[in-house]
Amino acid sequence: MNQDLFKFLLRWADNSLIHGQRLAQWCGHGPALEEDIALTNTALDYIGQATNLYKYAAQIEGQGRDEDQIAFLRDEWEYYNLVLLEQPNGDYAFTMARQFLFATWYHLVLNEMMQSQDAFLSGFAEKSAKELKYHVVHARDWMLRMGDGTEESHSRIQKAVDEVWAYLPEMFEMDELDQRMLQQGIGVDLKKIQTQWRSQIEAVLTEATLRIPADGWGHTGGKNGKHSEHLGYILAEMQYLQRTYPGAKW
C-alpha cells in the first residue's frame, strides 16, 4: 500500500467529513429557514466529497475496507482533519467566519489539485470546486452582512474572526508528507496558495469593515492526529451505532 497517499487522502477526507458534521448540527437550528437549508445543503456537499475520497482511500489501502468502515471505525488519533474544523459551532458568526476562511482556502486548494498527476484527485477536485464556489459566495455574503451590519453583528463577527484566526496557520503547513506528495506531482503547494488566499479574504474583511487580526501563535497537530477535546465528542455521536451494533446495515 502507498502509505503516504493513504494518509494524504484521509487528511482531505477527514476535513470534509468533520466540517460536514459540524455544519449538519445546524439542521433544525438555523437562524432562518433558508439558512437551515443552506447549511444542510453545504454539509451534504462535504459529506459527499468525504465519501468519494474515502472510497478511493479504501482502494489505495487494499485491505478490503469500505468508505463506511474507514469513517466509522477509526479513533481520534487516526483522524487527520484540521483542528479548526472540529471546534464547536458557537454562534452563527463563528460558524460563518470559519466557513468563509476555510472555504476560501479549500476552493483555492481544489483549483490547484485539478493539476494533480493522480487522475482520481484531479477529477475529484474539478467536481468539488464547483460546489465550493457556492459555499464561498454564501459565506462571503454573511461576512458583509454581519460585518457591515449592526453594532452587535459587527462585534460578534469580529470576535469570531479573531477566534478563528489562531487556527488558520495549520492550513498552510507543509510537513514532510505534503512535501513528498508535492514532489510526486500529486499534492498541492499550500504555501503558494497563502498569498492568494490572503488577498481574497483581506478584500472581503475590509469591505465588511472588519479589522484583520495580527498573526501569532497557532493551534496545530490535527494533520497528524493530535486533536482538541472536541473531536472525540463528534466521533462518539457519529460512530455510536456502528460501535454498538458492529456491521449494522441501513
Binding site: E34, E35, I37, A38, N41, T42, A43, L44, D45, Y46, I47, G48, Q49, T51, N52, A119, F120, S122, G123, F124, E126, K127, S128, K130, E131, K133, Y134, V136, V137, H138, R140
Partner: protein, 166 residues
C-alpha cells in the same frame, strides 16, 4: 423476458429514459445528463453515471433504478460505474429536460456553466416559470435539493425553484 443476444446500445439509451430522477421525477436520467456512457466490456454491459452533486442522495436510488430497468429488459450481466470526471454540468441537460422543468414550475438553468460571474457576485436574470416576468429575486443560493436555488417573483409574488447552472 430473456434476450440472448446483446442488445444494441442505442436501445439501452432509449431504455434509460424510463429511469426517473427520484427528486425531480419529471426528468429522466438522460434529460439530466447523468448517464455518460453505455458500452460493452466483453459480455458485460457497463453503464457509466456521474453524480450531479458529490453528496446527491438520489444517486443510490438512480443506480438501483437503472439496475431494475436493465433486468426488466433481460440484461443480467451488467455493471454500473460512477465517475467524477468530467464533472457534471447543467450544459449536459437536454433541451427537452429544460422544457419539462419549466412546465412544472422550476426555472431551468440559464446560460453556460463556464460563466464565472457568480463568483464576482453577479446574479443572472432568471425568468419566473409561472408568469414569465424577469422581475425576480434570489432568496437563497440553496433550495429544496442540492441542485436548486430559491427565488421569488416580484410580479406574481410566487416563490419558485431555479435549477442552478453549474
Amino acid at each position: 423476458m430473456v434476450i440472448n443476444e446483446q442488445p444494441n446500445t442505442d436501445r439501452i439509451w432509449e431504455w434509460m429514459k424510463e429511469v426517473e430522477d427520484p427528486e425531480i421525477p419529471v426528468l429522466n436520467v438522460i434529460d439530466l445528463g447523468v448517464v455518460r456512457k453505455i458500452g460493452y466490456e466483453g459480455e458485460t454491459l457497463v453503464v457509466t453515471i456521474t453524480p450531479t452533486y458529490s453528496g446527491c442522495p438520489a444517486m443510490k436510488t438512480i443506480e438501483k433504478d437503472i439496475a431494475e430497468v436493465l433486468e426488466e429488459y433481460g440484461v443480467n450481466n451488467y455493471r454500473i460505474e460512477t465517475v467524477l470526471s468530467p464533472a457534471w454540468t447543467t450544459d449536459w441537460m437536454s433541451d427537452e429536460g429544460k422544457l419539462k422543468l419549466h412546465q412544472v414550475g422550476i426555472a431551468p438553468p440559464v446560460g453556460h456553466s463556464a460563466d464565472k460571474s457568480l463568483l464576482m457576485g453577479k446574479i443572472r436574470t432568471v425568468r419566473c416559470p409561472i408568469c414569465g416576468s424577469e422581475d425576480t429575486q434570489m432568496v437563497s443560493q440553496f433550495g429544496s435539493t442540492a441542485c436548486k436555488a430559491l427565488y421569488k417573483c416580484e410580479n406574481c409574488l410566487e416563490p419558485f425553484d431555479h435549477f442552478k447552472c453549474i
